[in-house]
């Protein structure tokens, strides 16, 4: 069930009315759990077992870790939990890729490996990462193991965030269950978040998708300017698609009484690639930092090791998005860019505030960072590495072809630039705070634009595929 489906609004309304009717926290938790199960089963009920198994095993392994004083038992429990979680993720997400890659190598010696028919369960990457963070945090004694299975089950399967995040940590979510209550004052801010998310997902991202998808199917026939327009448009599309989803998820969670971590903070205003990862998919980059980069040694073991750690962590981040060489390479590029940035920062060869035009320098840093990220997105979006290289070649050589500049795309790009400039200049209007007199009119207008100008073809959320 997608957040933009009519059925979802009916389902959400039904759940909310039930929560209002039943005042007891325990009953409300049961209602939410049943809602979670229905939400996931709606897509395909066979895969419920896949979220039940890690939920049950991780609950008990975490309890074992928390209750035991024996270091070895803790380690065995953690290892068992990780093996189960990663086996599920590995099998459903990477097994076929591994088999196909292996088959390419072995086919020359006559060994043919055939991929299996495996369907990728909805939101499995997000779910498994949350499960891993929980057991690891318990192991590291950052949090106490959850004593109530109902609470843990509710956290693990919470429907607003199960498909595409944010990857909410147990340390943020589970404490909220101890004094769970519903506040009708949250309806308006939740509505605000949902409408803004819906607007940037459906009105902006879905309309851009029509252009970008066709471009990528036929990129060879378009000229260089169209290629640049498509590359920049995709940067905007993926941001609006995912940030829109995250906003909606956070808004729905708030309506149901939960505060979820923010996932985006104007990433295209970043002045360098490190800052970009502090603003883009914040819950994932925090996860990668806490559970991969720092355990590898972070930047505490010298420059060479820090470079290696960055590349390994970001490559893992790329692979997390999907079993394809394009994602792997995208992550690798980001790892390289982070390492280069660290080197440049140390060598002090970056545009410095001491120069006479600080605003211009800041602007140039933002533009350069955006272009680097945009070029990396080409690999992320392309069907293969060779396609991506062809597009990169089109971008940097004069490629004659068909010119295609959809007016809507131009309008959206100009609008986005204006929004980002206004945000950089700290115009209050951009936040559309609920208490401002103009905000409701803007929210209603956004809703109208979604209703009237949504594309006829439903565009699935990009991150729901990961």
């Amino acid at each position: 069930m997608s957040f933009t489906q009519t059925e979802f609004f009916i389902f959400l309304g039904f759940i909310y009315v039930l929560l209002l009717l039943f005042k007891k926290a325990a009953t409300r938790k049961i209602i939410l759990i049943l809602g979670n199960i229905y939400f996931y089963a709606y897509w395909d009920y066979r895969f419920l077992i896949l979220i039940f198994i890690p939920t049950i095993t991780d609950f008990f392994f975490a309890a074992a870790i928390g209750s035991s004083t024996n270091r070895n038992i803790k380690r065995i429990a953690l290892a068992s939990s990780l093996i189960i979680d990663l086996s599920i993720l590995g099998f459903f997400k990477y097994f076929n890729w591994f088999i196909a890659s292996f088959g390419q190598i072995t086919s020359s010696v006559g060994i043919h490996a055939n991929p299996m028919k495996i369907m990728l369960p909805l939101g499995i990457s997000f779910f498994i990462f949350r499960m891993i963070s929980y057991t690891v945090d318990v192991y590291k004694e950052k949090i106490e193991p959850c004593r109530s299975f109902t609470d843990f089950f509710l956290y693990a399967t919470f429907f607003p965030i199960i498909v595409s995040g944010p990857i909410s940590r147990a340390q943020n979510f589970i404490p909220q269950l101890k004094e769970y209550s519903l506040n009708t004052k949250h309806i308006y801010p939740a509505f605000r978040l949902f409408v803004i998310g819906l607007f940037i997902k459906v009105f902006v991202a879905d309309n851009i998708a029509l252009f970008v998808n066709y471009y990528h199917e036929n990129y060879q026939v378009f000229n260089t300017c169209t290629s640049w327009l498509a590359a920049i448009s995709y940067s905007l599309q993926i941001y609006c698609d995912f940030a829109g989803y995250s906003n909606m998820a956070i808004g729905i969670s708030l309506l149901l009484g939960f505060k979820i971590e923010n996932n985006f903070n104007y990433p295209y205003l970043s002045e360098n690639i490190t800052e970009f990862w502090r603003r883009w998919h914040i819950t994932l980059s925090d996860w990668i930092r806490d559970y991969i980069y720092i355990p590898l040694g972070g930047n505490k073991k010298g420059d060479g090791r820090a470079t290696l750690n960055s590349i390994v962590a970001m490559t893992a981040c790329g692979i997390w998005h999907g079993a394809a060489s394009t994602f792997l390479f995208w992550g690798f590029i980001h790892g390289l860019m982070l390492s280069f940035y660290r080197y440049f920062k140390k060598a002090k060869v970056l545009l410095d505030e001491k120069f006479s035009l600080p605003h211009f320098n800041k602007f140039m840093r933002i533009v350069i960072t955006f272009l680097c990220v945009t070029l990396a997105w080409v690999f992320f979006r392309s069907d293969s590495l060779s396609n991506a290289m062809d597009i990169i070649t089109n971008l940097f050589t004069v490629h004659k072809g068909i010119a295609w500049y959809p007016p809507f795309i131009i309008f959206i790009l100009i609008g986005s630039i204006c929004v980002h400039i206004a945000k950089a200049m700290e115009f209050e209007f951009m936040d559309l705070k609920p208490e401002k007199y103009y905000s409701p009119a803007v929210y209603f207008t956004m809703l109208w634009l979604v209703i009237v100008y949504s594309p006829n073809d439903f565009q699935p959320f990009i991150y729901a595929l990961f």
Partner: protein
């Protein structure tokens, strides 16, 4: 804020948003097309004296006159000899402005080349086909005097194939097989009152939500996710094409004594799999069709080569707009111009065929 003030404030905000979307959609949305029954033609045509705005593909304003004829308020009152351009949405051509449509471009070329006694007008309703023109030609000849030629635009190979069963648009008359026969449409447009209301007040923004609401199919039961089966379209055996065309063109020729010109405008060049394809996949069949047309004293013009030449020269495609996919969909202004020039070149080379002077 009191409860009363709060509710008033929300209502005011909602009202402001309605005014905003009203204005935006007035300029950026398609206006609905109203149809009215024309007793002299015995069929529904676009309502006269209306302006159709089209924004979702291309950007055009089209004035509709009497008898569903575009651009002219009453074509029957014009004394000149007339070339009637027939077709479906490609002749209706809401995507471009009136002056860019095939008939008006052709009229302008006639004027440029001193064919002062010759004008062209278009009759087209989206979804219709050659079978509709078979029924319509005698009706229009009775009402509109001095029709000197009928030009039928064929934008797709499918438009001249018999259907194994009646599929698709209810506006289309049917060319059926087994046995071959032509059946008129009894299409009656629906929701005309509400569309009239939208047009009257420019409330275009309500069209989509109401249409979407009526099309909503909800599912609440959990399921097993599976790939939907691909729909198989009925296939007509290739060897039966010739018989079908002989039947169609014999019937069509018998409907009128004035020249009939069929203008085949295939979807070339078209973009597929990252290539601009210049060859019409139905070219061989069309050669047979052209021969049969010639045998039935029907003139056949194939515009494929002109489309391809234009693409190779200008790097732009005759179909598609900046706000739609290039190379697909309806003719853009260039496409209309190419077709109009192709018709003119034929007439100019053989003016005696339509007694043009």
């Amino acid at each position: 804020m009191t409860r009363y003030k709060y509710i008033s404030y929300i209502i005011l905000s909602f009202a402001i948003s309605i005014i905003f979307i009203w204005v935006i959609s007035y300029y950026c949305s398609d206006s609905p097309v109203n149809y009215k029954y024309d007793s002299s033609l015995h069929k529904y045509v676009q309502q006269s004296d209306t302006l159709i705005k089209y924004r979702s593909e291309g950007r055009g304003n089209s004035f509709i006159g009497k008898y569903g004829v575009n651009y002219f308020s009453d074509i029957s009152k014009y004394p000149q000899q007339k070339v009637c351009i027939w077709g479906n949405s490609y002749v209706e051509a809401f995507q471009v402005n009136d002056t860019e449509k095939i008939p008006q471009v052709l009229t302008a070329i006639f004027a440029e080349h001193n064919y002062s006694n010759l004008i062209a007008f278009g009759v087209g309703i989206a979804g219709q086909s050659v079978a509709n023109q078979y029924f319509d030609i005698p009706q229009y000849e009775q009402i509109i005097p001095s029709i000197t030629a009928h030009v039928i635009i064929i934008p797709s190979f499918d438009d001249i194939l018999p259907k194994a069963r009646i599929v698709g648009d209810p506006r289309a008359a049917a060319f059926l097989a087994e046995p071959y026969r032509l059946e008129p449409t009894h299409w009656k447009p629906t929701n005309q009152d509400i569309k009239y209301f939208y047009n009257q007040y420019g409330i275009y923004f309500l069209q989509k939500p109401l249409r979407d609401m009526s099309n909503v199919k909800m599912r609440f039961s959990p399921r097993i996710k599976e790939k939907p089966p691909q729909q198989q379209l009925p296939v007509i055996a290739e060897e039966t094409y010739k018989d079908a065309w002989i039947y169609l063109l014999t019937k069509l020729r018998a409907q009128t004594s004035v020249p009939i010109i069929l203008v085949y405008c295939p979807q070339v060049p078209f973009i597929k799999d990252g290539k601009v394809n210049l060859k019409d996949p139905n070219r061989n069949f069309i050669k047979d069709f052209a021969e049969i047309a010639k045998l039935h004293n029907i003139i056949f013009i194939d515009v494929s080569d002109r489309f391809v030449e234009s693409y190779l020269k200008n790097n732009s495609l005759p179909r598609g707009f900046s706000n739609s996919r290039p190379g697909s969909g309806h003719f853009n202004a260039m496409g209309h111009s190419i077709v109009a020039h192709a018709i003119f070149d034929f007439i100019n080379n053989k003016p005696d065929v339509i007694h043009a002077n």
